[in-house]
């Protein structure tokens, strides 16, 4: 007596297709969803003070370098000292409950504990001043900070992303006086001029993994 129905003859084929589809889907899923593009971009932690770049940099139009003052001279973009904030907030909105942490820092001398948003691994050497000197604008890596209520990561900051620009920096370059301009678009003349640039970022391993 035959205990298996005839339809089961297709089982090996169905199983093979099923495994291929499921396995492929899983691989593709992990490939895409576990990549920095998904895990890193959009990270917007809550900060101890609800500081709005949209208000300060966007609406009030304060230049990036007013607070991140050392950016053209250091590898690291400093987060401004409490002192810099108090320069205005000793007078402006000085009783706002949102600024309680700032006032506490100013009176105790203990820093405000900001949460880091943009981070590259410790084995990566990154220097802000070099990129600015080459003419890479803030907006290229950090996105439209001037529209962000809460700062979030805009680009994946992974190695492939870095290398893309190191190989062909042209589209991300701009005149040095437009570095902090979030809305700059090149004129036709500038576009051709920048397209002719021969500047390249280092592409050898030890350029960044020193």
């Amino acid at each position: 007596m035959q205990i298996f129905p005839r339809s089961l003859n297709y089982l090996p084929l169905v199983a093979a297709i099923g495994v291929a589809v499921l396995g492929g889907g899983l691989t593709l899923g992990i490939w895409y969803y576990f990549s920095p593009r998904n895990t890193q971009v959009g990270y917007a932690p809550e900060q101890p003070i609800p500081y709005s770049h949209k208000l300060h940099a966007g609406e009030l139009g304060i230049d990036c370098r007013y607070c991140h003052a050392n950016i053209e001279r250091s590898q690291e973009a400093m987060v401004p000292p409490t002192q810099a904030c108090m320069g205005c907030h000793a007078v402006v909105k000085k009783d706002s409950p949102k600024l309680a942490a700032l006032r506490a820092s100013w009176s105790t001398g203990y820093p405000v504990e900001w949460v880091r948003v943009h981070r590259v691994a410790d084995y990566v050497y990154f220097d802000h001043s070099v990129h600015l000197a080459a003419g890479v604008g803030c907006v290229s890596c950090h996105g439209r900070i001037d529209q962000m209520e809460v700062v979030r990561q805009d680009q994946p900051l992974n190695m492939g992303w870095c290398l893309e620009c190191h190989r062909n920096p042209g589209p991300n370059l701009r005149p040095k006086d437009q570095i902090t301009n979030m809305t700059w678009t090149p004129s036709e003349a500038e576009r051709t001029q920048l397209a002719e640039n021969t500047l390249r970022g280092p592409q050898h391993c030890s350029g960044c993994h020193r």
Binding site: M78, P81, A84
Partner: protein, 439 residues
């Protein structure tokens, strides 16, 4: 004043892996015993029996966790900017400070690298004559002093932390009382100093409190060298060597390349004398006589192992041999005549003496600080007789001319304290509990 840690209090041996653990002994215990979960008695058989339900639960959990792992970005990391940023600081770019350390009788110029107020590296200052861009082991380790958790952060009174206002009040009252007595009963114990300012302030203080007594004690000091120079020249002087000009160097229990004061400069000078740069240039020659293996001994062309007490005997025998080779020793010749030469190989007298005589004015005999004053005096006389004075060795007045034998000073102090002649002791630096042997 260092805070006593848990080890000292409980008398038990405490092992720790980080300074956090050392500061908080409870953490050590936790690290040793494991967390609360592990400490609880777990039935091992229960762990390894797996039924279908448990298997599905676990595999589901594993799958979920693997997914969650990918979504959790990373542990949040804080950025701590300055509250009130000092001028000239550029976060991310180190500052370099020129400074000076003093240790074992020399001042060494340094350049310290500092990131946002946190010093990370010490190097020599190329513009400083004692450093010339190099450092010694103490200067390199000085960076650790800056992060010493046992450093005192506030005044203590009878072992209890207090504040500076309280200290100032108590100190002022005490000083007022002492001024009335002209400083009677006051002893001030200091370490050897290289500071002219300190010496000047001490003179001013003695004018105000003429009956106060100063004592100078450092565990490593130049007392023997001073007393030796006193015997040889009639005044307490300190030798300054120029190794770059010496063709033949005899080191008597002197680790001038490793631990003696001025070793950084000495190493540079010695290396210059070793530098063969052309056909006609010659290397210097170093003879080391020493009881222990040192950096100097390992660099020596010839090394003679001799016990510490026999180094003096070797010096006398060498002096006698020099006399026999025509060096004018004056009155010394009778004192060194007939020295017992047991255990000293003949070439170590004959050849060394011959080379010293051949290189008059270009030779150098150096003596280590721990050798008694008599050996220092003998070496000074020999250097003078060989015409080395002001060529390879010069003698200079020390900054603190009142510093004498530190060991005598410390025992005089303890005697006076025992008799009650001294009721107030001010210690400026130093840690007697570790640097002085109780007798």
């Amino acid at each position: 004043m260092s805070t006593e840690n848990e080890t000292a209090r409980s008398g038990q041996k405490m092992l720790w892996r980080s300074l956090d653990q050392k500061a908080d002994p409870a953490k050590v215990q936790e690290a040793q015993c494991g967390s609360d979960v592990v400490k609880r008695n777990i039935d091992q058989s229960e762990l390894f029996t797996i039924n279908r339900r448990k298997f599905l639960t676990l595999s589901g959990a594993i799958g979920t966790l693997a997914g969650v792992e990918g979504c959790i970005r990373r542990p949040a990391e804080n950025i701590m900017p300055y509250a009130d940023m000092p001028e000239y600081v550029n976060p991310g770019v180190p500052m370099h400070y020129a400074t000076v350390t003093t240790s074992s009788g020399e001042a060494l110029g340094l350049v310290v690298t500092s990131y946002e107020g946190r010093p990370t590296k010490v190097e020599g200052n190329p513009d400083h004559p004692a450093s010339l861009g190099a450092t010694d082991i103490w200067a390199q380790s000085a960076i650790l002093d800056l992060y010493d958790t046992e450093r005192s952060r506030q005044p203590h009174q009878a072992g209890v932390a207090t504040d500076f206002a309280t200290f100032d009040k108590a100190f002022d009252a005490k000083i007022a009382e002492l001024v009335k007595k002209g400083g009677a009963g006051l002893a001030i114990l200091t370490q050897s100093t290289l500071s002219p300012s300190y010496v000047r302030v001490r003179e001013l203080l003695l004018k105000r409190l003429p009956r106060a007594a100063f004592f100078t004690y450092s565990p490593v000091n130049s007392g023997n060298a001073r007393l030796g120079a006193l015997a040889a020249f009639g005044q307490p002087l300190l030798p300054i060597h120029d190794f770059s000009k010496a063709k033949v160097i005899v080191a008597l229990d002197s680790d001038f390349l490793g631990t003696e004061p001025g070793n950084v400069q000495a190493a540079r000078g010695f290396a210059q004398g070793r530098n063969v740069s052309g056909v006609t240039s010659e290397m210097n020659r170093l003879y080391a006589v020493e009881p222990a293996y040192t950096n100097t001994g390992s660099n020596a062309d010839h090394r003679l192992r001799l016990s510490g007490q026999d180094v003096a005997r070797y010096a006398k025998a060498l002096a006698a041999e020099l006399g026999a080779n025509g060096v004018d020793l004056g009155q010394l010749s009778t004192a060194v005549a007939g020295t017992n030469t047991d255990g000293i190989p003949a070439p170590w007298l004959k050849v060394v003496a011959k080379e010293l005589v051949q290189n008059r004015g270009q030779s150098l005999i150096v003596v280590g600080q721990r050798q008694p004053a008599a050996v220092h005096a003998l070496a000074a006389s020999l250097n003078r007789a060989l015409g080395n004075l002001d060529r390879t060795v010069a003698y200079a007045t020390p900054i603190d001319t009142l510093e004498g034998d530190g060991y005598a000073a410390i025992s005089a102090l303890s005697k006076q304290m025992a008799t009650g002649a001294i009721d107030t002791l001010i210690m400026l630096g130093g840690n007697l509990s570790t640097t002085h042997r109780r007798t």
